[in-house]
């Protein structure tokens, strides 16, 4: 599925050619928009016989108004049409495929992707001039070898084309062509209607600026609500597939089973508990590394360091936060892992002469490296929080004769504690959701074990491995990734909300 063959590339180019008409529509709308700007602005100015002072708004606003009337409805309709059309076509075409074709160990989606590929292939063939459009529409599977025909134009198919698939592909082409044609007509008509309306409305007394500003405000609101849309998209996309998963696999096994053993022939044990154990173990090690180092760095930087040391060390530490996680992953796999094996493994050849660790991937490897990644996260958050403790508290403590460290330990840290707890929770949520370090450094074996030198696996690694390679969205082994993702989302969301709540509450305390 992932392997890119020329056929896929060819197919996409084919669908691009198809999308070419959409591109044409968009360009036509843009041209109309520009024309509308010039025309309506001119008309507004002409309506007051060239004396722009007698217009309600500046002349350009009449132009913007025209542009808005032409472009916004037309482009919105185009986007909506392109979202809905494939669904409608798919639902119609799917009826053409007999149920027994689907039953042969594949799914409707797989058959549909065959249909699309054949349809795209026919498009390419027509585009390259290998056949006429009429000939493509009249093809019969039992008379022509469609596979050989498409191979000639550079579209390789995995198997021979069955008659229903070809029929469906032709229906697909016809409907796509008709749908796109209708769309072009409707969208252009809408754009022209908008232009006419703008022309008609734009006279000297028309309040163009107010209309434009109201329109812009709506666009700004739409942009802001995209955040909600994203969240809804995340939740819905995972919820639907998770429900599909729980229909095929008992939820009791997922949440309370003890074994993770996916088996692509079916009958797998898919329990989240071993993965959760690995995730938590690695996160705890990471926090054990990051919290002391990060916290002490923050204390030193905010309480002791001179401003020159601070301006030098703080940005350097923050470089660690800017390094992509793939770099840490590679560092874990190729540097830290082999180093740990050298120390704890390899029998008499190792540094300790023990044989405790066999492979470079282990809980400790991933935990240590993730800890390094989290140091700047903990330190800059705690730094902010310690700086927010009012100076008067410190001065009071100094005045009673406490040393600087006593002040920090007995006054500043207790005052900053809720904030620091919040920072640690945020770091923990980062650790739980981190992917690349554990994919490369933690290993792939799901088990309950307390030995940090063993390979274990985490939620994120399993999501990656269940969703890459050949994925079949009808099997619980693939769909379990969505249930894992949903659990991960809920887990990190809970930690974040809790942490943000604590931090916000704490900030209010001293304001």
């Amino acid at each position: 599925m992932i392997c890119a063959t020329r056929s896929q590339i060819g197919g996409y180019v084919g669908s691009l050619l198809n999308a070419g008409s959409v591109g044409f529509v968009v360009i036509a709308v843009l041209v109309l928009t520009a024309a509308g700007f010039v025309l309506v602005r001119g008309r507004a100015v002409a309506s007051v016989s060239g004396d722009a002072r007698r217009l309600h708004s500046l002349p350009n606003y009449y132009g913007y108004f025209a542009g808005m009337m032409v472009a916004v409805p037309a482009l919105l309709l185009t986007a909506l049409w392109m979202l809905i059309q494939p669904m409608v076509i798919q639902n119609t075409v799917i009826d053409l495929i007999p149920a027994d074709m689907v039953a042969e160990g594949s799914s409707v989606n797989l058959v549909m992707s065959d249909v699309r590929r054949v349809a795209d292939g026919l498009d390419v063939a027509v585009a390259q001039g290998a056949m006429t459009a009429d000939a493509a529409a009249a093809l019969e599977a039992d008379q022509t070898d469609v596979r050989a025909l498409l191979a000639d134009v550079g579209v390789a198919l995995g198997s021979d084309v069955a008659a229903p698939v070809l029929e469906a592909a032709q229906k697909y082409r016809v409907m796509t062509a008709r749908g796109t044609g209708t769309m072009a007509f409707v969208v252009l008509a809408l754009a022209i209607l908008g232009l006419i309306a703008a022309m008609w409305m734009s006279t000297g007394n028309f309040r163009a600026r107010n209309m434009v500003e109201r329109g812009v405000l709506v666009l700004l609101m739409l942009a802001a609500s995209l955040a909600i849309l994203t969240t809804v998209g995340i939740v819905l996309s995972m919820l639907f597939e998770s429900m599909n998963f729980f229909r095929m696999h008992p939820w009791t096994d997922f949440f309370f089973g003890g074994k993770w053993a996916p088996n692509f022939r079916g009958d797998s044990d898919l329990s989240i508990l071993p993965l959760l154990w690995g995730t938590m173990y690695i996160s705890v090690i990471a926090l054990l590394v990051a919290v002391p180092i990060g916290l002490f760095s923050a204390i030193y930087l905010s309480e002791y360091a001179s401003s020159s040391v601070r301006s030098f060390a703080k940005p350097l530490l923050e470089i660690l936060a800017g390094i992509p996680t793939i770099v840490y992953g590679l560092f874990a796999l190729l540097t830290v892992g082999p180093f740990l094996v050298n120390v704890f493994g390899r029998g008499d050849n190792g540094l300790l002469g023990v044989e405790w660790m066999s492979g470079a991937t282990a809980v400790l490897t991933a935990g240590l490296v993730m800890g390094i990644m989290l140091i700047p996260f903990v330190s800059s958050l705690s730094d902010d929080i310690i700086n927010a403790v009012p100076q008067s508290l410190r001065d009071g403590s100094f005045g009673l004769g406490a040393t600087h460290s006593e002040t920090v330990r007995q006054v500043v840290l207790p005052a900053a504690l809720p904030g620091i707890v919040g920072a640690i929770l945020l770091a923990a949520s980062r650790a739980i959701g981190e992917t690349m370090i554990v994919v490369l450094g933690a290993g792939a074996i799901a088990r309950f074990s307390a030995n940090p030198l063993e390979a274990m696996t985490t939620i994120t690694t399993r999501i990656v491995s269940q969703l890459t390679g050949d994925t079949n969205f009808a099997s619980p082994e693939t769909l379990v990734a969505f249930a894992l993702g949903l659990t991960l989302f809920v887990l990190t969301l809970g930690l974040n909300v809790l942490a943000l709540y604590i931090v916000r509450k704490y900030r209010e305390q001293y304001e």
């Binding site: 590339i9 802001a224 994203t230 030193y300 390094i323 992509p324 793939i326 590679l330 390094i372």
Partner: protein, 452 residues
Amino acid sequence: MTDMPIENAGAAPAPRKGSLLEQDARTRKRNRAEARFKAYGILAIAMGLLMLVILLTTIVGRGTGAFQQTFLTVEVELLEEKLDKKGNRDLADIKKVSTFGYAPLMRAALEAKVAEIGFETDLKSKEMAALLSKSAAADLRNFVLENPDMIGETVEFKFLAQSRVDGYLKERVTRASIANDKNISAAQLDLVDALVAEGSLQKQFNLAFITGADASDQRPEAAGMGVSMIGSLFMMLVVLVLALPIGVAASIYLEEFAPKNWITDIIEVNIANLAAVPSIVFGILGLAVFINYMHLPNSAPLVGGLVLTLMTLPTIIISTRASLKAVPPSIRDAALGVGASKMQSVFHHVLPLAAPGILTGTIIGLAQALGETAPLLLIGMVGFIASNAPETIGEGLMSPNSAMPAQIYEWAKRADPAFYERAWGGIIILLVFLITMNAIAVMLRRRFERRW
């Protein structure tokens, strides 16, 4: 503490003995604790910086090798009777000769070279040719196809050496380590030593690593970052085109226009939470919505760009809001005072003043998106060989490609250790991009930042 029992108040502490200038035991203890505490802080910072130094030296130490590659320079006779039998230099005819037609020419050239340096060996010519990369014949063929006039002449050609030879020159492969390696033998290494001594086999700067395409498992020596760089470029283009306008629009609404009500609250909490959602969750969203539902092509930079846009939006919104907030209200009031509308005051005055801050935030958001790997794994930007550079913008967006971090991950997973060097080298290239972007952001901030 005031309501503490004060029974002991009458019993004054024992009078101090000795000089006031001398510290008593308790003070010494407290001062030692003070010094210790300070030392912990210094130690923590030193540890953090040490990690940074180790990380950077590892990257540089292991990765610079990828920018050098071993080449063998020999003179090849481009025999006319092999390459262009008809002799009319018709490109279509020359193209009919496959790489198998070029292999004998290479072997002959290699044998001539060995004879020339007077090296006695019982290696067969096929074993000698095995020193060269499996893509050497294809390189020669491409050269001839580009310069058909050279047929019949003798040209000096730089052949890519195979990865074991390259590793031997870079001391990754030693004579001890090849005992069980069927790709190279000790006799072949003897020949390598002789060729190195003669000077025709040497390491040179390897431009193909930066500009070239990925290669299959068998040819680590030919793998390059170029095509995946283009993939990353297209993704960043999508992110920039979508995330910047949407992010700025959302921030303007939230900062300047939004009424204080529960809808605004929900949006704000949402953005704060989206910024902390694990990146892999965005990958799942991309797979479910863009690929499964909308049927956009797998592995396409367009899909990667869309996913990264959603991921970067919160970052851009947060930094844009901060820079809008930094514009003092007096600017808005002045604009409103001379009769501008609210919208005009924002778009004509506040936004231009906030622009440097917005740009800085956008660049930092882009840098974050450039290094992100996890969501790309789920939408299929790993696992295939990105071997063709796209020719048009549409193809660049829609045809499968890799991205820089995905390419690095791909190399890190392969079995041959020669790819690890490539992965580290790829990281150097990636970090150069990130450092440049961050440097631009810092410069912008320094140059244009205003304090009111």
